[in-house]
Structure formats: C-alpha cells, structure tokens
C-alpha cells in the first residue's frame, strides 16, 4: 500500500525515513502541537514550499534544466486567485475561476517559453527565463490597478475558512492542548492534504516511464535523442508540468495568506530560496523538498532572530570601543556582515559551498550511509 502510494520510490535510507515520517506527522499535527500564529504560519509556508520545491526539482533535478521563471508561475497562481477573490467576492466559484485562469495562463506561457528556447538551444532557457521573469515582475507592478502594485492585494476567502467560522461548539482538547476549532484549522488541514496529494502525484510522474526519459535527457541529451526520444517535447512537457504545480502552490499560498504581493510570490529572492532549498535537499530526489523546505524555513524564521541576538552584544561592544580610523571601520564592517541584514550573503555562501561539496544534498548524503 505504502509502496504503491510512493510509486515504488521509497526513501531508501532508514534515517531519512524516520526523519520524513516525523516531519510529516509534525506538520499534520502542527496546529495542535504548536498553537500560536507564527508557528502555524511557518508550518503552512513549509507546506507550500514543499510543493513549490518539488515541482522545481522535477525541472532542475530530474530534467537538468535551470529556470529562473519558476516563481513567475508561482506568482501567476497567487495573483490569479487574489485578483479573482478581490474582484468577484469571496466564494468558491471565484477561487475556481482564479485557478482555471491561472492554469490556462501558466500553460500557455510555459509552452511558449519552452518551445521557443528549448527548440533553439537548451542553454538559452536559463537566460530567457530570467528575462521573461523580470519583465513579468515589472508588468505586475505596473498593472497596479489589478495587482495592487507594490502594496499587493488583501482579500477575503470563503466564510468557512475564516477564523470566525466555528465548526464545533467546543474547542479541540487533548493531551495538553486546546485549539479553537475554527476555519483556519480547516484551511491548514486542507492545505496539508492538497500538498500531500500533489506531492504523491509528482512522485508518480518522476517514477513513470516519462520520468525515466527525463532523467535520461538529464544524463545525456544526445543519447536520448539518438535512442529516438524527442528531447524538445519531453523538456517542454517537463517545463509545463512543473509550471502547473508551481501555479497550484501559488494559489494555495495566496489562499492561506489571504494576501498576495510581489515580495511574497514574485521576488527574485524567492527564486533563490527555491534554488537553495532544492540544492540543500538534494537535486533529483523528491524527498529533498520536505527536508530542505523544513530546514530552510525554520532557519529563516528562527535563525535570523538568533543571529540578531548573537550579533547585538558584538555590535554594542564595537560601538563602545568606538574610535575612528580604518581599523574601527573594518571592525564595524565585519560585525555588520554577521548581522541579519546580510542574511542573503550567508545564504549565497552556503549555496555555493553546497553546490561544490554537497551536490547530492541531504537526501543523497543520507542514502549513502
């Protein structure tokens, strides 16, 4: 049964299996285990990231294509739902319209980009997606009448999913927790189920004959072509499928946050986060999405605060010594480097180091033990 659900692609490592089971159970029970808005927000973001990263892994890890437009599709999903809900009112119909619209848009765009660049030269794809993604970002901020510009869009979701809707008169109670049985809880579990189903679907895709062809193309495109597979078609399909899953992730994200703006769904930094998570988790291993997302988002949300508190005394000390001259300047600069403002610097260093020394990622490393 489990073997069937996981498409015969088991974690293949005892430690990894234990980690994955623990992670999935923790995420499923997160609202009960960690009451509080922030913990729930982090858990939900981990779930959205799992889907986003897994869909990107299909492209990067399994097909060997680098795309910088993955967050564009994520953004299309998020913006469509946000626009539909804010224009047509908070109903399931408008969510449906938003979803269908975004899927159509992503499909068309992914097909277009894929066919144009991959037909010519696979290496153009990375450059082309970078250009298209930045143009799309500009477009989203320019069409502020629709997208809310830099401020983004806040909107309401159907009543059932709101915090005011109680589906039980008494709150849920158990071993040391009391959680109000409201629509947010329902929304979280809905998110959890959809992400799990979509993930299993992705796992099925990469383990299908189609997925094998993608891996063959990654390993040796020339040979795959020689055997008789139309690499252009397969690559383009891979782009399209991953774009669709990213669109779904974007729509889920917007529905959960009840807000969407350029920074949450389109920014280039988000793209880098996704890249980093895929590399850390392990390229070409769907399970890496779970491990990588959890590690990364926990670090992003809790490590940054820790960095702040660690650097604070250092910075105070340097400020106390004071003084001018090049030495003091260098000292201040060095302390500043360790501050949370330069979080991206360490992310970049981590990224480069992990591509060098750790290309198989956490999952790949665990499997070798």
């Amino acid at each position: 049964m489990i073997r069937y659900l996981l498409s015969n692609d088991l974690p293949r490592s005892r430690v990894l299996s234990i980690l994955l089971i623990a992670l999935v159970i923790t995420l499923a029970l997160a609202p009960l285990l960690f009451p509080g808005a922030k913990a729930l927000a982090v858990a939900a973001k981990i779930l959205v990231f799992v889907l986003l990263v897994a869909s990107y892994d299909l492209l990067l890890g399994y097909t060997g294509i680098v795309s910088f437009a993955h967050t564009m599709f994520f953004g299309i999903g998020a913006y469509s739902v946000a626009i539909a809900c804010s224009r047509l009112g908070p109903s399931w119909t408008s969510i449906g319209i938003g979803l269908v619209g975004s899927i159509a848009a992503s499909l068309a765009l992914a097909l277009l980009i894929g066919l144009f660049s991959l037909r010519v030269r696979a290496i153009f794809f990375a450059m082309l997606t970078l250009a298209v993604a930045s143009a799309f970002q500009t477009l989203a901020s320019q069409l502020s009448e629709w997208t809310g510009g830099e401020d983004g869009l806040s909107f309401r979701t159907p009543e059932v999913l709101s915090a005011a809707a109680q589906w039980r008169d008494t709150p849920l109670q158990g071993l040391g927790f009391t959680v109000s049985a409201d629509g947010r809880l329902l929304a979280y579990w809905g998110l959890f189920v959809i992400v799990c189903v979509a993930f299993l679907l992705l796992l099925r895709i990469v383990n299908s004959p189609f997925g094998r062809v993608l891996q063959a193309i990654r390993e040796n495109p020339f040979r795959a072509e020689a055997i008789g597979y139309q690499t252009v078609i397969y690559r383009t399909l891979s782009v399209v499928i991953s774009a669709l899953f990213a669109t779904l992730a974007g729509a889920l994200m917007a529905l959960w946050l009840r807000y969407n703006g350029p920074d949450t769904s389109l920014s280039f930094e988000l793209m880098l986060d996704v890249l980093l998570v895929v590399v850390i988790g392990g390229m070409g291993t769907m399970y890496g999405a779970w491990i990588g997302s959890a590690l990364f988002l926990l670090a992003q949300n809790y490590l940054q605060a820790l960095m702040q508190s660690l650097v604070k005394p250092l910075a105070d000390g340097v400020a106390m010594i004071g003084g001018t001259g090049p030495l003091a300047d260098v000292l201040r600069w060095a302390v500043g480097l360790m501050g949370p403002d330069r979080w991206l610097l360490w992310l970049g260093v981590l990224f480069v180091l992990s591509v060098y020394h750790f290309p198989e990622g956490v999952v790949g490393r665990l499997r070798r033990f």
Partner: protein, 344 residues
C-alpha cells in the same frame, strides 16, 4: 623541415561582411522615424539608444567571448557592472575627486574629464582583479558542467552583491556627472546630451581596439581560433586556458567600464544594477549569437534603440519589446545573428 611562419607572412582570414546584418540597425531606426513622427525627437531618442547600445556592447563583449572560448556561461557577469559603478562613486565622491577643491569641481573642463578618466581606469583595474578572483573561485572548479556553472556563478553574484551592500549600503547613491558633461548640444530642435556622445565615442573606441586586437594580433587570432575550435588550438600547443583567463579578466574590466558609464547615465545607482543590466546583456548575447563580437555589437545597438523607442512610444512595453525582438530574431536565425560557436 618547414620554416615557422614569420609575422609578415601571415594572411589573416577576412571576416565576411553581412549586409543583411548591418541593415538591421538602420531598418529599426527608419521604422522608428515613421512611428515617432517628429525628426528632432527621433534624433534625441536615436542618440540615446546608440549610447545605451554602446554601453551594453562593452559589457556584453566579454561575456560572449568567454562563452565562445571556454563554453562558460557566466551568470554573475552583472556583478562587475555594479562593482565598477560603485568604485566610481567612491573615486568621484566627497572623499575622492568630489571633495571641495577636487578635480571634479574644478572650473577647468579638462580636469573634470581627467577625474572621470581616472575613475574609469580605477574601476577597470578593480573589476579586472575581481574578475581574476571570480574566475578562480566560481568558474574554474566547474568547467564543463553547465548546470553547476549557472548555479555557482549566480551564487557568486549574490555573495559579491551582498558584499557591495555591506560596503556601500543598500540605498541608492548618486553618481554625479561633472559640469563639463552635463547639458546638451542643440541641433535645431533636437537636444543631444553631451554624456551620450561621450558614451558613443568611448564605445566606438572600445570596438576599434577590440577589432584591432582580435583581427590584427596573434593573441586575437588565437582567441578567434579558440572560439571556433578550442581543441584544435590546444592541440597546436597554445595555452587556451591562460588565454581564457586573460579574456575573462579583460571582459570583466570592460564590464566595469560599462558599469561606470551606465551609472553616470542613470546618475543614481543601486546594488541591484548588475542584476538589472544582466537581463539586457543576456538578450544581447542571445540575439548576437554566442561568441560573436560583431553580432553582439549589432545586437546591443538594436536592444538599446528598441528600448529607447518603445520607452517613448509605449513605456510599459519597454522590456517586453526587447524580448519580442529576441523572439523575432530567433525565429529568423535560430542561432542568433552571427553564431560562431558550434552547437553543443
């Protein structure tokens, strides 16, 4: 035994002139004249577009050669642009020539120009050295692996961009033009900014120098041969790898030069400048055909002109117009205007 060739006996192969290629720029300009209507506005836009194109060309030339020679796709090229521009702000800033009584504020125009030239030279030297370090740290370990190259050079760009932020801050800072370069020449109704003319001039000089080095010297011959067939040049005993490092450093320095000019053109710079220009540069080298200097020159002019014309006619479509241009050219010539490298 055959005598080794002497300098004088070399017959350098002539490059084929492609009239269709050179016709594209006047064609675009002509179409724009019809669309814009007013000749004076058109002239202003055209000069602005040519200036922008020249800057793009300086930046793109190194990138395209690096790709052609070593099959290395450097996604971090934009970082040299930003570094060049920021170093120029320091050289020309209040602690440099911009100090009261400094050259930049001196009444004599030649001192002001000299200050700018010094800033350019310092920026080029710094970006050249940075290029050497970048090549060592981020490019050399991943030769021949496209996927890793893209990821690593991108990561390198982020790291250096963050370092720039930590030194110069995240805010945008002004890069003022000296008095002598401000203002415009007036031809009839058309106003042509002095700085744009300077940019065109510098661009032409860079093009001429590149053409002489590539077309008339032994090093240039080796670089061009290496672009066409690296293994052959290697098997003849030439150190292609060292040649490549030289090209990488020169390309980085040229990007630094382009960055200084770009910063002066925009008058304010932000640390993200590199990533922004990067997008245009990629469009340029795809249109031009990877590895081709002349192709990227024409492509840069096309992109610069296109950006300025649509910026005037339909501002919201400016970036899309360049993508549309690229798509149109790729339909016409799938390998770019002048492909040099073999399909890999």
């Amino acid at each position: 035994m055959a005598q080794p060739d002497t300098e004088s006996s070399w017959k350098l192969p002539q490059t084929r002139v492609d009239p269709l290629l050179w016709g594209l720029v006047p064609l675009l300009a002509g179409l724009a004249l019809v669309a814009v209507g007013s000749p004076s506005t058109w002239l202003t836009l055209t000069v602005a577009g040519l200036a922008m194109g020249m800057m793009l060309f300086m930046i793109a030339s190194g990138l395209t050669l690096v790709f052609g020679l070593m099959d290395v796709l450097n996604f971090g090229h934009g970082v040299f642009i930003a570094t060049g521009a920021f170093i120029a702000t320091t050289v020309l800033g209040p602690t440099g020539f911009g100090a009261p009584g400094g050259w930049l504020l001196a009444p004599q125009w030649h001192l002001q120009i000299a200050a700018v030239m010094v800033a350019i030279l310092v920026a080029m030297a710094a970006t050249g050295i940075l290029g050497l370090v970048f090549e060592r740290l981020f490019v050399r370990p991943v030769y021949g692996q496209h996927l890793k190259q893209i990821l690593i050079t991108m990561g390198g760009m982020i790291v250096i961009e963050e370092l720039i932020k930590s030194i110069w801050g995240t805010q945008q800072i002004p890069l003022p033009l000296p008095e002598a370069l401000r203002g415009a020449f007036i031809f009839g109704d058309a106003a042509i900014e002095r700085f744009r003319l300077l940019a065109v001039l510098i661009g032409l000089i860079v093009l001429a120098v590149l053409m002489v080095i590539l077309g008339r010297t032994k090093i240039g011959l080796l670089v061009r041969a290496g672009v066409e067939d690296r293994e052959m040049v290697e098997s003849l005993g030439y150190p292609v790898r060292r040649l490549f490092i030289g090209v990488f450093v020169a390309g980085s320095a040229l990007a630094g030069l382009g960055g200084v000019l770009w910063g002066m053109y925009q008058q304010t710079i932000t640390p993200q400048i590199g990533a922004q220009v990067n997008v245009l540069i990629f469009i340029v080298i795809i249109i031009g055909g990877l590895g081709s200097i002349m192709g990227s020159f024409v492509a840069a002019l096309l992109v610069g002109l296109m950006g300025n014309y649509t910026g005037f006619l339909a501002p919201k479509l400016a970036l899309f117009s360049n993508i549309a241009l690229m798509v149109a050219i790729l339909i016409w010539r799938p390998e770019g205007l002048r492909p040099v490298t073999k399909i890999r």
